[in-house]
Symmetry: C2
Subunit: 478 residues, 2 copies
């Protein structure tokens, strides 16, 4: 046994460890007498005081005990005692990170989604039975998987996929060559890359209030602040923008013009034009989150802000998550080439690009011609679900709440008339097996609102949950 | 035409826009006379001075021109003139982000990898012909793709995949239940999540010098500093740790004990034990990056730090990228449950989890029993490649450089004897179609080093590139 005199572990501690190991290994059995302190000090080439200190510590730990006669005996060797190591103070590290934890309610939602038989009345994704898994499986089986490259992909993503996205955007009036397109792992990653790649701490995000963004921390965690603007019947009230830029320094606008999350509103064509013009004049960049665009039910929404953008002000975000499958994790950002280059560089530093398998699958899907038929199928299904939910609301909620009929997307923004604590409502509903998305997640002031979604729940579940929810609310009011 | 008096766009500007639109639409053709300023002022309900200002601006732009007689004519309507909008000042945004851009050399490498016929003498990934694409394709074809859920997955990742990872780790002496495992999109994302989730700005990362981490900005971009420790023949010199903690505040250790990137070194079992013990005593957490562990050629490396960790100090990172396919983007972090919960929460906020398709594929692969045969095949292939590269180095570089024989992994850490500017060498090699990874990427002081990789280049390419590289170096010395 040689002690390491260069180690940061003090010699006393090393002596302790030596003794502990001898006991653990059974060299010095329980009840046996330890070598004397002097013998050990000589053997280990340390001062006797070092050994004394080690003995004292081990005595305190209940491992050894001194005799009246001066000797020391092993009195314990349970593994329990041996194993009581102090772990790193992870608690402090868990507290420390710069990224804020999810809101407790969001964490509960993320967990509760995996409770069997829970009715997810607020989930903003397609029901699994609307995801064309069989068709996709068939498509993948017949596709030339041998062409699949499982290496890292180009910084901006698989070129063939970007070409497909470019064609897809052209149909929507957006001219974007593959070099102006970055493939990302969903729209949320797009926002994360923008937050760390384009904005300084202290920048301002102007956004609709309520908004999806209030429920995630992607910008706040990077030290940015929000400036929420109200919406009227036409959408984001752009005339409130006028004084912002001077006051607030570096600013960017975030908007969901089509089937807004969580209100379901569609911005009018006139308002879109005003926003694009105002931002062009003020040289304010816009992030247009357009992941719901294809999910119209009654009529297509007006053209995107990006399609009106002559100056390159608009960074456009699209995704397959809402219309096809969230599990693929495939989305895109479209913008000025210098901006896309920068974001691609950061994406490489964050995850070396998105899954090659997912990119391949997305490209196969988009080039297959399946998309049009799928979209029209989804629209029909959403119409049925929306109408059923509206019917149920008329029956069970006409005295309890107000709402508008959404013309597309997933959401009904329900305003409850009675004053109920949103946390209590959330908890009571959860206890009854119904998972809600309260409005406070999207605007702290929206204490009366619930964001319902007709995309995930089945008709049967709606028919069960809406009357049950009425009961819960009525009970909470009493 | 009604002007919007609430818009942040000044009236003068709106008048300008109105006139421009009339011209663009062909209402007022080139050569035609504009309405008088007074008429326009009345029509638009603005002061005449506002119209005058708009006329002046449009005159300056070359769109209209005054006549001697007092009238004003349209003199130009080219789209070129119309379209000259000022775009947002993206340049300032591109500069601003908190995330540092990649080193220019890294960006060049990321781009150059897609130049056809370039010989990638430093690429740290398996050659595409070593990726078992056919076998994987067959596996996927025969797998129950109908079981594939294309929805979002659980916060920690697909449970069945986590169970497979748990079994896989058990074989390596690491006891980790699925709740202690987080699926990530590769090891780089693991580091990114740790940097934003567990560490404050100003924290210190103690690491081997040179190290992979110096070539990415994942920690520095979050405001952390590096404290590089030298390596001796046994690995990271842990006895240099002693004074760090007191001085440096919150600290974490990052190490690649097996087949270290970029030196190829293997930390000895004794040193591993010392590090684990020292960190346990100092309550310093360790990030163990173990993505090369399975890639041994001559003999397996000693057990991982994690397998010796009794206190939960070690956060362990593994991945399929190096041994199977980087394109799958599947890796894992293993650690204390509270830490894993925190990281899972952040991952949800960053990208809502990894590709369900990739997770499904990884689980199919890991449960298929293919892995053992694949590993042994890869080892054989790496041995052949390594030995060939070592032979070529003996022939062409014995007077120019020094190196050690790596016992596994991908890398040979070549130390050139002559003093050559690394940038010049990089550029000249690139001009000759050879892509190098100079040592300065991993340690600013390693100006004499090159990190060669025998994993990516073919035998034929090695045989071409090594003699060519000799010539380039000899020319640069002269």
């Amino acid at each position: 046994m040689k002690l390491n005199r260069k180690s940061p572990v003090p010699l006393r501690k090393q002596v302790e460890e030596y003794i502990t190991n001898q006991i653990a290994a059974g060299e010095w059995a329980t009840g046996s007498r330890l070598p004397s302190q002097r013998t050990l000090a000589e053997r280990l080439k340390v001062n006797r005081s070092t050994v004394t200190a080690a003995f004292e510590e081990l005595t305190a730990q209940g491992l050894i005990a001194g005799n009246r006669g001066g000797g020391t005996k092993v009195i314990n060797n349970t593994w329990g005692l041996m194993a009581k190591q102090k772990p790193a103070d992870w608690g402090a590290y868990v507290e420390a990170g710069q990224f804020k934890p999810n809101l407790p309610m969001i964490r509960t939602i993320n967990q509760a989604e995996f409770i069997p038989d829970i009715i997810r009345l607020g989930t903003g994704e397609l029901s699994p039975d609307l995801i064309p898994s069989d068709e996709l499986a068939k498509l993948f089986l017949n596709a030339p998987i041998h062409s699949l490259s499982l290496g890292y992909s180009e910084p901006k993503g698989n070129l063939r996929l970007r070409e497909e996205v470019s064609k897809f955007l052209k149909l929507k009036g957006i001219a974007a060559d593959p070099e102006s397109i970055l493939i990302v792992s969903g729209a949320l990653q797009a926002l994360q890359l923008i937050s760390i790649g384009l904005l300084d701490r202290g920048s301002t995000i102007v956004l609709e209030k309520p908004s999806y963004l209030y429920s995630v921390h992607v910008f706040q965690s990077s030290g940015m602040r929000f400036y929420g603007l109200p919406m009227d019947s036409e959408g984001l009230m752009v005339d409130r923008l006028s004084h912002i830029k001077k006051e607030w320094g570096k600013t960017i606008i975030y908007s969901i013009p089509s089937f807004h999350y969580p209100t379901g509103k569609v911005m009018t064509a006139a308002r879109r034009k005003s926003i694009v013009n105002a931002c062009e004049y003020m040289r304010l960049p816009i992030i247009e989150d357009d992941v719901y665009q294809d999910l119209w039910i009654d009529a297509p929404p007006p053209p995107s802000l990006k399609s009106m953008d002559r100056s390159g002000n608009v960074l456009y975000i699209g995704s397959l998550s809402k219309v096809l499958s969230p599990g693929l994790r495939i989305g895109w950002i479209v913008g000025e080439r210098s901006v896309i280059n920068r974001l691609a560089d950061i994406k490489m530093q964050n995850d070396y690009g998105s899954s090659a398998l997912s990119q391949w699958a997305a490209e196969e899907y988009m080039s297959s011609g399946m998309h049009e038929a799928h979209e029209s199928y989804i629209r029909d299904q959403l119409r049925i679900r929306r109408d059923r939910m509206l019917d149920l609301l008329s029956v069970y909620f006409s005295d309890l709440a107000e709402w508008s009929k959404p013309s597309g997307g997933f959401y009904i923004w329900l305003k409850l008339i009675p004053n109920i604590d949103p946390n209590a409502l959330f908890e009571c509903a959860l206890a009854s097996g119904i998972l809600l998305n309260p409005g406070v997640l999207y605007d702290r002031g929206a204490r009366h609102h619930l964001r319902l979604s007709y995309a995930y729940v089945s008709k049967r579940e709606m028919e069960q949950a809406i009357p049950a929810l009425r009961k819960i609310i009525v009970n909470l009011v009493d």
